[in-house]
């Protein structure tokens, strides 16, 4: 058996290695990073079959829970690790060409730390460790947002930093309240003891936790940092942030609400919050002219949709939500990555400056179209099946409330289709003002192409994917008490 | 055998009746205007004169063909409208067919006139078509109402239904609103004043007939004679109980025609838009009210 702890240790160690050996390695640091992430991919994939049989519990430093620190790898953790490592590798591949300059090693260090934090957040079995990993993830992403060093990036990073800090303080308060009340920080232990707390304390813990995590998960109205951060960051980082970082925070909320707090009565509230986030995101994107802001707002919309799906209190809903996460990771990464080179090549963020770019960058434009189609849920792309499943799940929940919600979700999709189509029409306009623009280099295109494979061929592997996501759903909904594992 | 005789002689018969009616109308109007007027057989002379003209100017093959379509279409309509003693074709086409084959001659003429490349002609056609939109809507609506209560669209059956009810069974008596609406629409259909916008000699130099001369105009006159009879017959069949025999038929034709040309004689000409507006403001609401009576 491969020890899941390697998923955290390898990128963490490589990050330190890179930063210490930076002067010696010069520009070869990136290959080291790639190696580390490839190892992660192999580990996470090899974990998958085992985990589906039986969740793995890893005890660190020999001290048993509830006192010690441990990792818990259930289907959720395993599948998410796969998503994180694969997306991480592909985006890293993209960064090889995209990130240039002397100080590259900083980028790769932070990138690896970000991956570390992501894996940690999703795998940890301890509430305080969750906070620690959250901080690793958050701090590395603050810096990465401002990596380019320009004014916009810096401003966005500061905003992100301030709001993110408020969020982490909230989380810390929640953790303190938990520890004070139950005397334990182990998730499995907590799951048993949480219900014994008095309702007022439970309420406060829940609220602090949801709002704190909600900042990172970009739930409306806590997501105000997102448009700036996602649009000002380097495109590879935008892809990471939109692709899995906000989803991780979201999934943590969902995991806590379903299993650890076991307070499914608040799910209705989360569903409404999800739909509001969706509508706000889509409408806000509707009149944007900056392509990365459009994509950022669209991420808000998508995160709302995922939140809605996962708050349906049914296996089908979580299953569909996970599928939508996969779809969003792939398609939004494609969009950010292709847009990244369009910005580099044309020197403009305004998509109105890209008139007829499809003639000059046909491959990029083609991938952009694929990404849009899958994001909008056009058959036969993967996004169609995830959206279909979300709506099936919502209608199975029954009642006029959910039918109304479904119509609002579909309204959001209409708005989303319209603004994406505007962009596509500009790309494929016949007259063109762009003259000396060339296609993006091979390596970034390869990374984008690999992402496209997911959405193109996803529907062929639908049964397999559903079997994984279905396991996550049963893990969460049947409240597979983690205590049973011991 | 009988049918074959009818088929051969009906056009001639109706042509003769029609020409005499046209002659009669000229005389009648002249007398009202205190003129002497031409002899009643004047229309015959005109037609023979036109048919024997030496030069027949044409502007192209559609111009030639239009004249065939004009009279051919009218003859087609004529056969499908039942007259006393002859309703052979009524079984192959109902009132709806008649409503639409009535438009074939109009279309033929419109195409032919179009090819003459004379703006007067085109304006005449444009006016004729606008007028068509004016009068045809109320006229068809009255027919629809009448067909609806009797559950048939066959003109022959409509006649029989009326005759079974005696005088009270006449459409005009049993459905007076529809009858009156159709009567006004009929005035427009015949192109008599005040709806004579299509020809309007003082405005557009007789409109469609501007570039028509010689045998073309002659055939148009033959067509006019027959079509007047056919259109009046449609009204008689729908609202005046049809006709049991030829005496009855001719009497009804005479009375109806006299009534219509009396209106023609004392009216000026409407402007086209006013004519259309009149059709949509008077007969159309009448017909709608008539139908509402039928429904409720």
């Amino acid at each position: 058996m491969v020890n899941p702890i390697l998923l955290i240790i390898i990128p963490l160690g490589t990050a330190f290695l890179i930063s210490t050996l930076a002067s010696a390695l010069k520009n070869t640091t990136k290959y080291l990073a790639l190696l580390a992430l490839l190892a992660n991919v192999w580990i996470s994939i090899s974990l998958l079959p085992e985990v589906l049989q039986r969740p793995i519990n890893v005890i660190i430093a020999g001290v048993k829970p509830p006192v010690g620190i441990n990792l818990f790898v259930g289907p959720l953790g395993a599948v998410f690790s796969v998503i994180i490592s694969i997306a991480g590798v592909l985006i890293l591949l993209y960064s090889f060409k995209y990130i240039e300059g002397e100080q590259q090693h900083k980028y790769y260090t932070l990138f690896l730390l970000l991956i570390t934090g992501s894996h940690g957040m999703i795998l940890t079995g301890d509430v305080f460790n969750l906070f620690v990993f959250f901080e690793i993830l958050a701090i590395s992403s603050y810096i990465l947002v401002g990596y380019a060093g320009d004014k916009n990036g810096f401003e966005a990073a500061v905003k992100y930093l301030i709001l993110g800090s408020i969020g982490s303080i909230f989380i810390l308060v929640a953790i303190a309240l938990i520890y004070e009340g139950t005397g334990t920080l182990n998730m499995a232990d907590l799951a048993g003891k949480f219900s014994t707390l008095d309702p007022a304390r439970r309420l406060m813990i829940l609220v602090f936790f949801i709002t704190g995590m909600g900042v990172e998960a970009a739930v409306f109205p806590l997501n105000s940092w997102l448009p700036d951060a996602h649009s000002s960051a380097p495109s590879s980082i935008s892809a990471v942030l939109s692709g899995f970082v906000i989803e991780i925070a979201l999934v943590v909320i969902i995991k806590f609400v379903y299993t650890i707090f076991a307070m499914t009565e608040v799910l209705g509230f989360l569903a409404v919050a999800g739909v509001i986030t969706l509508l706000v995101g889509e409408f806000a994107a509707f009149r944007q002219s900056n392509i990365k802001r459009v994509l950022a707002y669209s991420s808000i919309g998508q995160i709302g949709l995922i939140l809605f799906a996962m708050s349906l209190n049914s296996k089908a809903g979580i299953n569909a939500g996970m599928m939508q996460i996969i779809n969003h990771t792939a398609s939004k990464s494609i969009l950010f990555l292709t847009a990244g080179y369009m910005i580099v090549k044309t020197g403009s963020y305004q998509f109105s400056d890209y008139r007829g770019i499809a003639k000059k960058m046909p491959v990029s434009s083609f991938f952009f179209v694929l990404g849009v189609l899958s994001l909008l849920g056009v058959p036969p792309f993967f996004g169609f099946f995830s959206k279909l499943n979300i709506i099936i799940a919502a209608l199975h929940a029954g009642g006029a409330f959910y039918i109304t919600m479904v119509f609002l979700v579909l309204l959001g999709t209409i708005i989303e289709s319209i603004y994406f189509l505007k962009i596509l029409q500009v790309f494929y306009a016949r007259d063109t003002a762009i003259l000396d623009v060339k296609e993006a280099p091979f390596l970034p295109l390869l990374s984008i192409a690999l992402f496209s494979l997911v959405i193109l061929l996803g529907f062929l592997f639908l049964p397999q994917i559903t079997s994984y996501t279905g396991n996550i759903a049963s893990e969460l909904v049947t409240k597979l008490q983690m205590a049973q594992v011991f | 055998m009988n049918t074959v005789l009818w088929i051969v002689f009906l056009p001639i018969l109706l042509f003769v009746i029609g020409t005499f009616m046209l002659g009669y109308s000229r005389k009648y109007v002249a007398r009202i205007e205190r003129r002497y007027g031409p002899p009643i057989q004047q229309v015959f002379y005109d037609i023979f004169k036109l048919m024997s003209k030496k030069t027949n100017i044409s502007h192209g093959w559609m111009h030639d063909f239009a004249i065939l379509m004009l009279l051919g279409g009218t003859l087609l309509t004529m056969y499908f409208v039942p007259v006393p003693g002859f309703h052979f074709f009524a079984q192959y086409g109902d009132m709806l067919v008649i409503m639409y084959i009535l438009l074939i001659p109009a279309l033929g003429m419109a195409l032919g006139v179009g090819e003459t490349a004379n703006p007067n002609g085109s304006i005449g056609i444009s006016r004729a078509l606008m007028m068509l939109a004016g009068y045809d809507i109320p006229f068809v609506l009255t027919f629809i109402g009448f067909a609806m209560i009797n559950h048939t669209t066959s003109m022959y059956e409509l006649i029989q239904v009326q005759q079974a009810g005696g005088f009270a069974g006449w459409g005009l008596i049993s459905q007076p609103l529809l009858g009156i609406a159709a009567l006004i629409a009929l005035q427009g259909m015949l192109g008599e004043k005040p709806f004579e916008v299509m020809v309007a000699p003082h405005e557009i130099a007789t409109g469609p007939m501007t570039e028509m001369g010689g045998k073309f105009l002659g055939i148009m006159m033959i067509q006019h004679a027959i079509s007047i009879v056919v259109e009046l017959t449609i009204y008689i069949n729908l609202f005046l109980g049809g006709a049991v025999n030829w005496f009855d038929y001719l009497l009804k034709l005479f009375i109806l025609f006299t009534a219509l040309i009396s209106v023609n004689a004392v009216f000026g000409r409407f402007r086209t838009d006013d004519a259309v507006r009149f059709m949509w403001k008077i007969p159309l609401p009448l017909a709608i009210i008539g139908i509402l009576f039928i429904i409720f």
């Binding site: 408020i166 909230f170 439970r202 829940l206 609220v207 949801i210 709002t211 806590l222 105000s224 940092w225 700036d228 509230f269 706000v280 409408f283 009149r287 058959p379 169609f384 709506i391 099936i392 309204l411 505007k422 029409q425 | 048919m51 100017i57 044409s58 502007h59 192209g60 093959w61 559609m62 051919g72 003859l75 192959y92 109902d94 009132m95 709806l96 067919v97 639409y100 438009l103 279309l107 419109a110 179009g114 490349a117 004379n118 085109s122 056609i125 078509l129 606008m130 068509l132 939109a133 809507i137 068809v140 067909a147 559950h151 669209t153 066959s154 059956e157 010689g214 055939i219 838009d273 139908i291």
Partner: protein, 618 residues
């Protein structure tokens, strides 16, 4: 998976080959010609396979999905492949060297793929998937052409995506109600559904299809969308693309829900679901037809009629009687034949003169007699006059409405027909009749490859007019397969207790009448052809510098009458919705002020609101 997969895969192969050979127009056109010929052949020989079912070899959401061939499918498949073949033949020359024709055949194949998939599908999911493919390829089809095409295609897209989302809601709602996507299964369980829910579901589906088939008040995307693209696409789109919406309506009204279920959906007294639907159909006939009167562009004029004629099909279906439904279905075929014929004639004129502006053309009958004849056949069909095919189907519809007791729907049909006669005369007059402008003196008739489709369609238009029984046989079978009463048809028309129709007799008498007139005509002296300047001009002389033509504002007087009633409500409503959406998005955009202090307030507010709400929930 034999013939259906062959059809679909062959179409996909067409897409693929056209993408591969996107640089060579010659290769593209011959590939397309061959593949569409095979497709047409395949869809013709599909007939013995009616009733067979093909499953896709994998499950989706635990459901078997696939395709089936029914009489209804067969009817539509025949139309789709046939008309596409004719379009391709016509395009061989027409599209040559035009700007932006690189993907012409590709989108044509993609669109055909989508349409064939939609009509052959046997379940909601397959239906929806192909429906989406079809909508996107329609969008691609409409986008070919210049900047206006982009704009109008965008408008279509907004409507289409709305329709798709509504359809998706309907598809999934019925899945959650019936537990299956299969049409047959849903039809079987339909009776167990409560009436309000049935009505809701049916309304969802019909609304979605109404958008695609451009029913009034959601028709406004069509005229611009269809007329701004290549003229051959105008033909293709008006001929068959819009009618897939009608297919959906037929399928759901009669195939999935069933007429018995639909008839149960009463509202008040005689006003039931069908009646309300009929009212929308009636408005579809009247409003767009009269808007067509105002058009100065031949393509736009026909596009508006294409909206209006949809109303006839729908009102026939809404009448609910065997005759009316047959009329509605028959009109789909008839409309396809004559409208494509008309647009081909327009395209020929455009090919030779470079314009479709009705104010700039005229007198082309001397130069392009075949195109003129094609247009003439087409407009007689469109106006619904005997002996062309349009008359027959309209006759069915009028009769069904009159005898069914819908006088006002019937009069709407008549009003629509009159409006049609007016504007088609304007069309043929302004293009082919009147004075020939000097600049068109060298115009020639189009070549054989463009004439051939026109001749074929002329034969179809006339043939179906005189022998409606040719199509009625299939339509009667469709009716029986949908559980409806079949119409009592004969080869030349229809047999009914009161007032039957025999088109052969009508045509024969007409020809007889023409023959008699011809004899009278020959009695006179020989006619002499003269030039267009030898003309009555009130005593003046004409020469080529005098524009002696009447075509601008052809129906000014009628426009004068109608104008006060043209409020452009639809246009204003659409603009209103667009500006409301803009305003809403502008306000929501402003939530993200970019200032960190407001963001802090948001977080605190969110915190407090969450406490308040969650306190109630726990």
């Amino acid at each position: 998976m034999s013939i259906v997969s062959n059809l679909l895969l062959l179409t996909l192969l067409g897409v693929l080959l056209n993408v591969i050979f996107y640089k060579s127009e010659v290769v593209q056109k011959y590939i397309s010609l061959i593949i569409f010929a095979i497709l047409t052949y395949l869809s013709i020989v599909m007939y013995p396979l009616v009733g067979s079912h093909f499953e896709i070899p994998f499950l989706i959401a635990g459901q078997h999905i696939g395709f089936t061939i029914t009489y209804l499918n067969y009817y539509f498949a025949l139309m789709i492949t046939g008309i596409t073949l004719l379009t391709v033949i016509f395009s061989l020359k027409f599209i040559k060297g035009k700007e932006g024709n690189t993907h012409y055949y590709t989108v044509l194949f993609l669109k055909t793929f989508g349409m064939l998939g939609v009509i052959l599908s046997s379940d909601l999911l397959t239906f929806f998937v192909f429906w989406e493919i079809m909508s996107w390829s329609t969008f691609a089809l409409m986008s070919t052409g210049g900047e206006p095409a982009h704009r109008s295609a965008f408008k279509y897209f907004v409507f289409a995506v709305t329709a798709s989302m509504i359809l998706m809601a309907g598809v999934i709602l019925s899945y959650s109600l019936f537990g299956s996507f299969d049409f047959a299964v849903i039809h079987g369980k339909m009776a167990s559904l409560s009436l309000p829910m049935t009505g809701f579901l049916l309304t969802i589906f019909i609304t979605s299809f109404s958008i695609e088939s451009a029913v009034f008040p959601v028709h406004s995307w069509l005229p611009d969308g269809y007329s701004n693209t290549f003229t051959t696409f105008t033909a293709y789109l008006s001929g068959i693309s819009t009618r897939i919406g009608i297919y959906g309506i037929i399928l759901f009204l009669f195939g999935v829900f069933g007429i018995q279920t639909v008839d149960k959906l009463g509202i008040i007294g005689k006003i039931n679901f069908r009646y309300v639907f009929g009212i929308f159909a009636a408005l579809t006939m009247i409003v767009p037809t009269f808007t067509a009167l105002y058009q100065h562009d031949a393509k736009k004029l026909i596009a508006w009629h294409s909206v209006g004629q949809g109303g006839y099909m729908l009102i026939g279906l809404a009448s609910g009687s065997a005759l009316g439904i047959a009329g509605g279905m028959f009109h789909v075929l008839n409309h396809m034949a004559y409208v494509v014929l008309i647009v081909f004639a327009i395209a020929s004129v455009e090919y030779r003169t470079g314009t479709t502006n009705l104010n700039k053309l005229g007198g082309l009958i001397k130069k392009m007699p075949v195109s003129y004849l094609a247009l003439l056949f087409g407009i007689i069909g469109l106006a619904g006059l005997p002996p062309m095919n349009g008359f027959v189907s309209k006759w069915f519809i009028y009769r069904a409405l009159i005898l069914g007791g819908y006088p006002f729907l019937a009069i709407a049909a008549v009003i629509g027909t009159l409006g049609t006669i007016l504007s088609v005369y304007k069309l043929i007059h302004n293009m082919f009749l009147g004075q020939l402008p000097e600049r068109y003196n060298d115009v020639k008739e189009v070549g054989f490859s463009m004439q051939l489709p026109m001749w074929i369609l002329m034969i179809v238009v006339l043939g179906l007019g005189v022998y409606p029984g040719l199509a009625m046989g299939l339509i009667a079978k469709i009716q029986v397969s949908l559980g409806l009463a079949a119409v009592p048809y004969a080869l030349h028309g229809i047999k009914a207790a009161s007032g039957q129709l025999d088109m052969l007799v009508v045509s024969a008498v007409f020809i007889g009448g023409i023959a008699v007139t011809w004899i009278i005509y020959l009695l006179g002296n020989r006619r002499k052809h003269v030039g267009q300047y030898n003309n009555y001009a009130g005593g003046n002389f004409l020469n080529k510098s005098v524009a002696y033509n009447f075509n601008y504002e052809f129906y000014a007087a009628l426009e004068h009458v109608i104008d006060p009633y043209r409020k452009k409500i639809i246009e204003r409503t659409e603009r209103g919705i667009a500006s409301v959406t803009d305003a809403v998005s502008e306000y929501i955009r402003r939530i993200y002020t970019g200032m960190i202090n407001t963001y802090g307030i948001y977080v605190v507010t969110a915190f407090v609101v969450t406490i308040i709400i969650l306190k109630e929930l726990i």
